[in-house]
Amino acid sequence: MTERRIYLDNAATTRTDPRVVAAMEPYFTETYGNANSLHAEGRAAHKALEDARARVASAINASRPDEVLFTSGGTESDNSALIGLATAGGRTSGHIVVSAFEHHAVLEPAEWLGKHGFDVTLLKPRPNGVVHADDLKDVLRDDTIMVSVMHGNNELGTVQPIAELATAARERGALFHTDAAQTLGKVEFDVAALGVDAASFSGHKIYGPKGTGVLFLKKGLRFAPYLMGGGQEFRKRSGTQNVPGAQGFATALEIMAAEREAETIRLTALRDRFEAAVVGRLENTYVNGTDAPRMPHLTSLIVKGVEGESMLLHLDAKGIAVSTGSACSSGSLQASHVLMAIDCPQEIAHGSLRVSLGRWTTEADIDCLVDALIPIVERLRAMSPVYEKMFGASGA
């Protein structure tokens, strides 16, 4: 890729910040010990690991460092939280609520639990892309053991009222987990203020290294470790710890925190500029979740009468990277389960485009995107056999 590219798929993954790479470097070849070894090399690695843990704990306002468990990513954190909390102490039944627009890393373990004795309720978000606490209260039961609702939705960018949802769960004696892979560092995340029992994070969404994640797990909860073995991470997550990864995660998170206020303002302005331009210039186009709290960097666009992948590929040919639906569901025929969950009609859900800005996005990038997107949409609509019939009435 020598041509100039515009990367607007930061919700799928981010470029590792060179400052993060630099922070990891010493832990590959200098402080390379096993954090569980007793000798000096091991103690130095242990110190680096615990330093990273304390920094992460402080960034999310955990009450103690050992509430922070290092994992291999958002997926492992989600799987471990769901299955580890549900099956702790040999439990084999109970009611679990997860929202219908969770990432598959939550939905699939929930489905697994559903097949292994637990009763799982999928809670629908409202059409604005938000899970409402009243709706949660309606489905909570005396035997509800756990609720999992994501903080920021990865396709829509909408932010859920976690504090309210967690309170509702707690009042009925249920644990509350949130997948905060998308919001970490972008929206304030304070485990104490939010009142969550567990939360999942992923390093590669915050300009940190791929293959790193964190599971916040409140002290004193019963928990069945998901990865089993040597008993690392306070016997809650086995496997030799990835010390450079932990240091990289902590550094990435600290940079996010330090720059968050300024970035929020900058990215919100860029996003609004994009949305105003594209909705102003393209008929039959709207943005999801505009009347809901949203993350500053993500636009979920519905362009009626075109198919998302076609827009994506044409933009890519013009040097611009965006996505449609969630990255992982590319290759599946169904419209995104997220858009289905907010009752987006199937025939327009295929026209979704996710634009997610990042640390290096400029105003010029946004203008380029708008200028590229409009003729692409016009061309695709012109070659559609049904555009005029289905959407022509509304103008052009």
Binding site: G305, V306, E307, G308, E309, S310, L313, H314, A317, S330, G331, S332, L333, A335, Q346, E347, H350, L380, M383, S384, P385, V386, Y387, M390
Partner: protein
């Protein structure tokens, strides 16, 4: 999931896009709910495809398979045209990702529908034998 260069060529610069205004046969297949819609219009003379154009709403593979089938079918006899299989279309494009094989079915079906439309309009028997069967295991996942 990666597309071949050939798919990307056809997608980026599709051949024979459009509608033949005074078409002899029209085939419309697909379903907006699935995200894929295709319309093929044909001009027939002497039971051969003189001209063929398409319109498609769909993903990269849907557009590329539409484009390539118009190239493959132009000049063929009706009989030969309806025999084009999804496997041949995919091969002509240097392969398709497994999850996208259904798109080549859509293209083949569109062409058959247009040929049948022409035949029926002219009081003859349809010859395509209906849509090609799709085996389950080619449906992605």
């Amino acid at each position: 999931m990666l597309y071949s260069d050939k798919v990307m060529d056809h997608f980026g610069n599709p051949h024979n896009v459009g509608v033949i205004e005074d078409a002899d046969g029209v085939g419309e297949v697909g379903n907006p709910v699935c995200g894929d819609m295709m319309k093929i219009t044909i001009k027939v003379s002497d039971d051969h495809l003189d001209d063929i154009k398409f319109q498609t709403l769909g993903c990269g593979a849907a557009i590329a398979t539409s484009s390539v089938i118009t190239d493959m079918a132009r000049g063929l006899s009706l009989e030969d045209a309806v025999k084009i299989t999804k496997a041949e279309i995919a091969q002509e494009l240097d392969g398709l990702p497994p999850a996208k094989m259904h798109c080549s079915v859509l293209a083949a079906d569109g062409l058959r529908a247009a040929v049948d439309d022409y035949l029926v309009k002219n009081g003859r028997e349809p010859i395509s034998g209906g849509p090609e069967l799709v085996e389950d295991d080619e449906h992605g996942r």
